[in-house]
């Protein structure tokens, strides 16, 4: 991955709105632009602008189907970032730690929900 294309990926990810768009598209591959717009309180033009930035970074791939554009999440740029800094050894320990974090946090979330 060339430095400037990695820059594009980090720039695209440096926005909570764009990260949410990735969540939305990943959860439902093939969603169209209108489908994404329904999640946000902003104009279609603003959503399109975010989508363009995500597409330029290759995090979203779009395909024209008739009159609508279908959107797909492309995990490859993230995989390449991951490959650059992780080794078999660090993956092992990092996964253990994140596992513990997710498990404890979901347990705590369940408890607080019960209290309410």
């Amino acid at each position: 991955m060339k430095p400037d294309s990695m820059d594009a990926v980090f720039r695209a990810l440096a926005s909570e709105t764009r990260r949410r768009i990735l969540d939305i598209v990943k959860d439902q591959p093939g969603r169209n632009v209108n489908g994404v717009c329904t999640f946000f309180d902003m104009s279609r033009i603003a959503v399109m602008k975010h989508l363009r930035i995500l597409e330029a970074a290759d995090l979203i791939v779009s395909e024209k189907k008739g009159r609508s554009r279908r959107l797909y999440f492309n995990a490859v740029p993230l995989q390449m970032i991951y490959d650059r800094w992780t080794t078999e050894y660090s993956v092992f320990w990092a996964e253990r730690l994140t596992d513990i974090k997710y498990r404890l946090e979901s347990r705590r979330a369940k408890k607080t929900r019960k209290k309410k």
């Binding site: 294309s5 169209n32 797909y72 492309n74 490959d83």
Partner: protein, 173 residues
């Protein structure tokens, strides 16, 4: 609106011809497809294809060519012999750019949650990574080579359903 489709896209610094050869060659193992040997009577729509181990004793993937348009587009159905899942369709697209090749894999008809779907989605990243390294550096990354070595060692443990005897090219899939 979920159309059971997944898309993977990568940019490779190389020629369309080099990428095309890696995914269609039959004269040596295809490292980007887990070092499998592509067995076919000739790539053209309707032709049967098999991905066999280097020894030829086992067959991991069976399918049929749907589209074959060198060196830009190739699509085939595929099914893992060790799972009982319905086949899906894989399309490879190679798009020439000023700075190299844009390589896109599209998976159609994946049944969510099946073992095949999981293997395909994990496999696609492996294919892209290995292919990029093969074309740009002339060899597969170390992590892929470790997988090939393990594959050789573990081959003997493959289930009977994968035996190549069950999957001659004459059997339509």
């Amino acid at each position: 609106m979920n159309d059971n489709k997944a898309v993977f896209k990568i940019h490779i610094n190389g020629s369309v011809e080099d990428v095309w050869r890696e995914i269609t060659k039959t004269d040596e193992p295809q490292q980007c497809f887990f070092n499998s040997v592509l067995d076919t009577e000739g790539l053209k729509p309707g032709a049967q294809i098999r991905m066999r181990t280097v020894s030829g004793r086992y067959t991991a993937v069976v399918g049929e060519v749907v589209e074959f348009d060198p060196p830009h587009r190739y699509a085939h159905t595929m099914r893992f012999t060790q799972y009982d899942d319905p086949p899906c369709t894989v399309t490879y697209e190679l798009i020439e750019k000023d700075t190299g090749v844009e390589f896109v894999i599209t998976l159609d008809g994946l049944q969510p949650g099946t073992k095949s779907a999981k293997s395909m989605i994990r496999g696609a990243s492996f294919i892209m990574n290995t292919l990029k390294s093969l074309v740009e550096k002339g060899k597969a990354p170390l992590s892929s080579r470790v997988v090939f070595a393990l594959g050789g060692v573990l081959e003997g443990l493959s289930p009977k359903s994968m035996s190549s005897e069950n999957w001659p090219l004459s059997r339509q899939v």
